[in-house]
Subunit: 407 residues, 2 copies
């Protein structure tokens, strides 16, 4: 048996502790399959440990501190020192991917980050390795467990976003500062990573157009139920004719969609490619032990000598005005001609209506519609015209809908 | 750029042709990520080509001929000659895994077989690599597309097994000789492979207890619908206290089960492990191009220098008398005391009833029940007692049910 593989561990929060325990517990199993026994050498905590000392003593650096500062500096220095790096840090890879991949390539070492996207669901490995030589058309899914938990609870209970967020915080499904999750920024970072790998082009966080779930109202979910829809925060990365589009947005799915049954803190990612139709992967999106398991999988791959190569790839254009289907929620005065006026604005902008629900009288009158697919610029032009109509009692609300029918 | 990697291709049926085309089409993409351009050198067809010549000129041998003879001989000789081998041949790996893995280990070469199970769904790679150091409790799923297509159609149309099989043959979803698929033998081979990898123990086809779908009656599906169940041919490999159990059987699933919505020729596999709860992967289970894509993924991994190690592992006992929940379909005379007599036999054997549907009068009287979990030996003892009761008008029919409730 060779020398043990020494792991320099940066960060010892929930995931870091779970990882340290897991390495101790599974060291023999790793030694059997990879030929080397892993052991955690130095650990850098916020209050103790010296990075240079830990780096000098490490074969592999595992970064589980989160945030980009000082994580970026440490990871860069580790790669430049010729150490393999495993990280679970999605913001680090999404925001500084270019320089990190360059540094890894120059030093001839590996940078692995399975745990950065969808926790224990091995979507990175599948895209990079199983489908490495396959032309991928689209990667999309539910990549944030906190928001999926919140939307599931809102749909079940009818409660408001703030009320359900508070409950998610109590249960540990949302952090004390939930901004990154509920704003869509966390999902955007993950989609930037998936787009980079799927399309072989440098995509950063700044290329992702994202929206969160803070404006979702309970009655959006109630009307949606009536229309047979369920609401998810969706990340979508698509190869398009002259580029790529990468977006995160709340979105209604028809009942038969494979992502519709994904509930609570679970994640699910679908990969579409002409050669394979589609594959779907789902599982727990977070949790200390699940994330630590994904990190250990990367460590095992490094010890086994696997070597994914990160090709720089040509930079593709990022396309922002894509076609989408929308749900539209209008609070209107209950008087004749309202539906005709709304339909007229939509028609003028080339937007056709798929279904309509009109409900209530007097102050309660609401018009809820689902549109067929249309360029987003045309839809938003119509939306601002609608907002100016004199019978409109509140700002119109719009949420995207996936209208494709699946097998 | 290094020398091209020469592929010796054995077999040129549907998958072989799709693979040869795919290599030509994706050669540049492979060269970019793996550093070597693949090219198909010799091709061995049934009627032409010389194996020794193809072997001598190959860096990697890709076996897509199917069957175990002469595939076993060719693959063994390729491994012994120090060539990496990729195969899509489930029966070969399931029946001759021990000697093939030994030969690969001795020669220090790779034997990869992602396409042997679940087509383009990368379940082998996920179990071997992502979860290589994780303690897996259970692997189960739908691993035969032909039978899933047939069961889906039977449920939808109410038609009989022979009628739907004929339709599946017309559509190309079933072969002219469908025995391997409908008997469960194909799924059994795949489950032997998954069990070997998940539990690190040598499992062969002979260790798998399997049943097919040839005896399924349309009214089983009709009653099942009434009970909220859907019928699948399920493969289940479980780590048990003193060994493993590996089985294939038709089985009813409750509506909320993640495998219940998998329809038509799709495959889906779930992996349960304490560290990750469960992950689910689904996609097309067969098809020339999907299978060829999985084969190419293996070729890319070999060219990238990845090296999964096949640990022999200790031989675990194969446990056959496991606990199951059953659906029971009894055609009985319609007279007083029948239900009491049936309940008495079940009770004597320690079997408790979960739900009952009693229907019809005279010759049409039927008793349909779903039991709670019980050791299979006890259930079959009860079944043979029931068959002897004088009011029984036909042989009792039993089908397993998964009664766990999922998130």
């Amino acid at each position: 048996m060779s020398e043990p593989a020494r792991i320099g561990l940066l960060g010892r929060g929930t995931v870091g502790s779970a990882f340290a325990d897991l390495v101790a517990e599974r060291a023999d199993a790793v030694a059997e399959i990879a030929g080397r026994r892993p052991e955690v050498g130095g650990i850098l905590r916020r209050s103790e440990g010296d990075f240079d000392e830990i780096l000098a003593g490490a074969d592999i650096v595992v970064e589980l501190m989160g945030g980009t500062d000082p994580a970026r500096d440490y990871v860069l220095r580790a790669l430049q020192a010729g150490k393999h790096v495993v990280t679970a840090n999605k913001q680090l890879v999404a925001q500084h991917g270019d320089e990190l991949f360059d540094a890894a390539r120059e030093a001839g070492v590996q940078l692995r980050f399975e745990a950065a996207v969808a926790g224990a669901v091995p979507v990175i490995r599948v895209i990079q390795e199983s489908l490495g030589a396959t032309e991928i058309a689209k990667v999309f899914g539910i990549v944030n467990g906190t928001t999926n938990f919140i939307l599931t609870e809102m749909a079940k209970t009818g409660a408001s976003f703030p009320a359900v967020l508070a409950r998610a915080q109590e249960l540990g499904y949302a952090e004390a500062d939930p901004t990154d999750d509920v704003s869509g920024a966390d999902a955007a970072a993950k989609m930037a990573i998936l787009a980079r790998l799927a399309f072989g082009t440098p995509v950063g966080l700044e290329d992702v157009a994202y929206e969160g779930i803070t404006d979702i109202q309970p009655d959006d979910l109630a009307y949606a139920k009536e229309l047979g829809l369920s609401l998810k925060l969706l990340g979508v990365a698509e190869r398009r004719e002259r580029g790529v589009s990468v977006r995160v947005f709340p979105c209604f799915l028809y009942g038969g969609h494979p992502l519709a049954p994904i509930e609570g803190p679970f994640n699910a990612v679908m990969v579409e490619a002409p050669a394979i139709t589609e594959i779907t992967m789902s599982g727990p999106g977070a949790g200390g032990l699940a994330t630590a398991t994904a990190v250990l999988g990367d460590v095992v791959s490094i010890l086994s000598g696997e070597a994914p190569v990160h090709v720089p790839g040509e930079r593709l254009d990022v396309i922002r005005d894509v076609a989408s289907s929308f749900y539209l929620h209008l609070e209107v005065a209950d008087r004749p001609g309202v539906l005709a006026a709304v339909a007229d604005v939509l028609g003028q902008n080339g937007i056709s209506v798929r279904s309509v629900v009109q409900r209530g009288t007097g102050h309660e009158a609401r018009l809820v519609m689902v549109m067929h697919e249309t360029p987003e610029s045309a839809f938003y032009a119509a939306l601002s015209e609608l907002a100016k109509l004199d019978f409109m009692r509140a700002t119109p609300r719009a949420i995207r809908v996936i209208e494709e029918e699946f097998v």
